[in-house]
Symmetry: D3
Subunit: 254 residues, 6 copies
């Protein structure tokens, strides 16, 4: 089975991080094909970057989804998730979406941790949109930027572990989603120091995607996630224009 | 006062329709500057088109917001609304958002009518995201495509009036939002036949935008709608890249 | 255009305060006609005072709505809002309702500040009733009484600015509604000290009312806000009895 | 024990109806003191009538609560409920509130039936405000006016029984609240024809009020339902002015 | 009237505590028949104990409900409430359910206090399931175990009073439900020290049950709480098997 | 990997059905160990049967969870889910829970179909409890009993397919969960006739359980799903008593 892992920003280091995490969670025989955005923002940490990243994610899918059985979005705002699900005939799973689903199978009260206070409302909007508002008790901000995970990893790990313990003790969190592609893989390093499961979105997304492929359920042929049919566009890449024009990818046999 | 009216799809006829509606609702002295997308989808009636349209709306704002006092989004999915509000220093109002606000000042139970069943969940997501879920009793689909409003306007008007009367009688609607740029202006023609107010999103947005300009409140300098600061991008138009790089437009004195 | 500004309590100083704020937000050519209650409570800061104030607001409308194009309720509990909207043929806007609508166009997370802890649940009930519960993150109480705004304005301003900054820093507020007629106009004085917009309910209500007048939408002729028809009463003022008996005011041409 | 039953409208026949129902549900030794409004609307079937009725209910309590152990509101919109609860030192129970509490002890999905479609949104607002929105599956309108219960009782009974059966079969109602003072007592007559309990609000309110008296819990001395202290008023009845001025009634020993 | 008070755990001391509280709230002429579980957990303070206690509660009802007019569940997780209500023809009231109903008739913002942090989510789930989520502002944990109420009652009373005062001052609680069978009766001892009513679940349940008996409403004959008809079982007590097999108890005349 | 599939009722045919479905969805190398209840109800189609089934499910786990890596509940009311998750150190997944998670990854509006109208409220309670209320548009009842799936499978298939098509066309369902152990496996047979994915709960649960095992996240050591420690019981099977007494199973290495 081949899973396309899309990082719609331009930072190869983040792609490498999420690809490493994805591979560590993949079943034997699952290949992770990781791709990085070719236009748009270097990192995705604002509403405007998220908006352009959705276009970028669609563009990457148009170029690379052929020959893949599923897509995982390796961007923690799940940029473009609905659009990809609508346009592709294969399962699409967002990393924060996956983290929330897995966390809700493990704990009754979920917290989500991310980089920086200005992203908190965006994750709250995701949480509400996905329907997890009743279970997510807090979206908490780390006082770090994503880049700190690369430049000062020890400080980020220590700060993250402390924040997580506080979410357990003061807020009663029973499972914690680590939201932020740059946090991928860090959970393993600090899990021992935190008494509740730390759910890595990318790692959670891989078995969900594999499971959906195995179930072999058809994509809806009615409603808002069915394929809208051929649509005319101007000024997009030829690959994305072809996707809008109605090109369909046949997934390979597993 | 000058209001930038953004239609992020490529169809000039829709721009003309929303511009006409906007002008009919503008105060004396308000100039409506209407612009049409230069890349992306011809029409916006799917999740994927909406995703690219958000990029297109940002791009149009980057080119045309200079010298304007406010922005109105003339696309009924309010594509890119949060991103624009974050990046611009002037008020930004979406047309469906505006329609819902105005409707809630006129009736206790709101219905929203749009083109085609596949868009119903997208408007339901908007309604929930804006916080109007408790007041919107139904998002109803007309059995028409947006293009029908141009090719068979009589049938659309008749069908719309019938559907609206049914929403009043069977569902208890007390105000109805007409969602769909192609419906702009049609409300006037059939208002007489429907016993509750028909709220045109574009027309509702113009006085809201004017009012926000008049109130002169500052944009947030903290939180998810404050300006994120200079951000690096690749492959965007030079105008949009400049906006990401931190260029700020000073609105003209009214 | 003429807007009737109703203060249903008996305190002329509050009427003057809200009238001053309303005029500062009115368009050129809009006249603000401010009236004060003739019976009922001196101030409105309890459930019982609010109940009688609703009667008082209806009575004031019955006496003064003739010749006006819209009504703004200059009482922060929006006393009698639904009843006025039902009985009058012209738009009616409550000041806290307006503050919440405007705030939600400016910030993703809204706080509301009022005088005294005992009013917090009443504003929470308003917020829920208007459908803003998903966006209002906190209703916060100032440790002052309304009268302090007149007797010790410096202390109120300083305390308000501090509380607002705390709501931004600790609660993540992105826009703040100042609820309390006695706070009208204070926002301007301290806006510079707070990094998110401070929304004055009365000032917000005026352009909303003007916009509704301009849109010229009809009042619902069905449902809970349509006119109930002639109703018999006993013991009310002759003006209010006439309103109940079915008297209708024709708004003047703008 | 003495319970004051307040009908804040002017129609003695309705007072008689609710008093009869209340007495049928009272424990031996409980006296029902039923009073009728002295000013305001003849019937209460609109938002404006409800607003004035809240004042009327306060006035009746000011005149008659002395010597009583509890108050039951015999008006199905529970007009003035919060204000009475705040001002009086004895328990206050609204009839629709009581109907909803009792129904939720008997069935998992509750319906509420009332007179006329224009009242449906008002009851929906009550239901939401009381927190029963998750359990009330439908507020249904009878095609009758309250007066029909007196002039054409057979037709009302037949129509009510039919509507109730339909709510069970089509909507899955497991308990039905009869909202409307004029419906008081009718439930008994048709209970046999409907397979789920028909909850009469007035009858439900009496044992709730008796139970609260028996529990002897103190009224809150903090928060929005504590007594606000002496408040100045103008133009109210001397009894109501005394209540605002801080007069407290000592309930009799049971 | 005879009320069966079911304590489905094995601890006679808890049965005695709840029976004492129940009797103190019963009307003259009401007999409280208190029974203790014969199998299952000694105390109920986990999800697993709660699951087995539901079976135990059904078993106790099967043995003892004959000759009773109503059932009160004297276990603060209301174990087996829905199952009992479905199987018995007499009213069934849970103690925490009752506490929440009574509290909501007394205060606008409700808090609930229980033993130990690990039970907080279980009560939050009850609160949501009963529909009180909009009114319950906090489920607070005492740093005590239920047994402390017997071994160190002074410390529990002092700690409880402090926590309750804090819930009033910091959280704005207007009524507080004491959840925990071992807390039954403690409210009286500390009510004087807390400015809002302390609602004892068992004491609240008794007059609700008496009221339901007095109202004499039939049990639903349709829906999820109607009797499911005769059902085959294996390995249950003969009394419970008879209940599943369709045995019905006729309540005695009051 | 070994997954314990628990059917807590007494009907071997249902165990066979869910085991067959589970095996069809299992990865190579996953062994499904299916067990049937030894006491309690023959089928589970009422609140009382569900209550006893939770005890039965715990008992089955106590006997059979040793040597297993995960548990799947093969009963569509997910009887005992929270209790099992609390007591076991291995992942536990309910079949309806799993169906809802998978459906929400495939469609924006979810319907759930079950046997008989009296179960509708129970599934609505599950849906709300799991947090899917915003996405589940309808819980629909088939006019069949579970046994019909064995005695008249053609009629059940035909009726199910029709109902599902209607849920797509009339209600806008984009994914449908088949709730009812007796429906396991039927989805495949009719998927071709329905334009949206039919999600079989048991089949959905297996890859979720496998994924959780692969992720290797620890069970919470704090909160309501952590192990409560040794608890005393009376009258339970020795295996279940051992589980309550603190016995822990070490899952085998995968």
């Amino acid at each position: 089975m081949r899973i396309l892992l899309i990082n719609p920003n331009l930072t190869q280091a983040i792609t490498d991080t999420v690809a490493h995490a994805a591979r560590s969670a993949a079943a034997p025989g699952t290949e992770i094909v990781a791709v990085t955005g070719t236009f748009g923002p270097e990192v995705i940490a604002s509403r405007a970057e998220n908006a352009v990243a959705a276009h970028s994610a669609l563009d990457l899918a148009a170029h690379h989804a052929g020959g893949c059985n599923a897509v995982v979005l390796g961007v923690s705002l799940d940029s473009g998730l609905g659009a990809l699900r609508e346009f592709l005939d294969i399962p699409v799973v967002g990393m924060s979406e996956a983290g929330l689903h897995v966390a809700s199978l493990l704990g009754a009260r979920i917290a989500l941790v991310t980089f920086g206070a200005r992203l908190v409302p965006l994750y709250e909007e995701l949480v509400r949109g996905y329907g997890f508002a009743g279970h997510v008790i807090r979206v908490a901000a780390l006082p770090f930027a994503p880049a700190d995970a690369y430049t000062d990893p020890v400080r980020v790990r220590t700060g993250l572990a402390e924040r997580c313990r506080d979410l357990v003790e003061s807020d009663g969190a029973e499972a914690i989603v680590l939201a932020g592609a740059a946090l991928a893989g860090i959970g393993d390093a600090i899990q021992r120091e935190v008494p509740v499961p730390l759910v890595d979105g990318v790692k959670a997304a891989v078995p969900l995607a594999e499971g959906l492929v195995r179930l072999g359920l058809p994509k809806p042929r009615a409603g808002s996630l069915s394929h809208p049919g051929a649509r005319a566009t101007v000024g997009l890449s030829s690959a994305l224009d072809a996707l809008f024009s109605g090109k369909r990818f046949d997934p390979p046999t597993q």
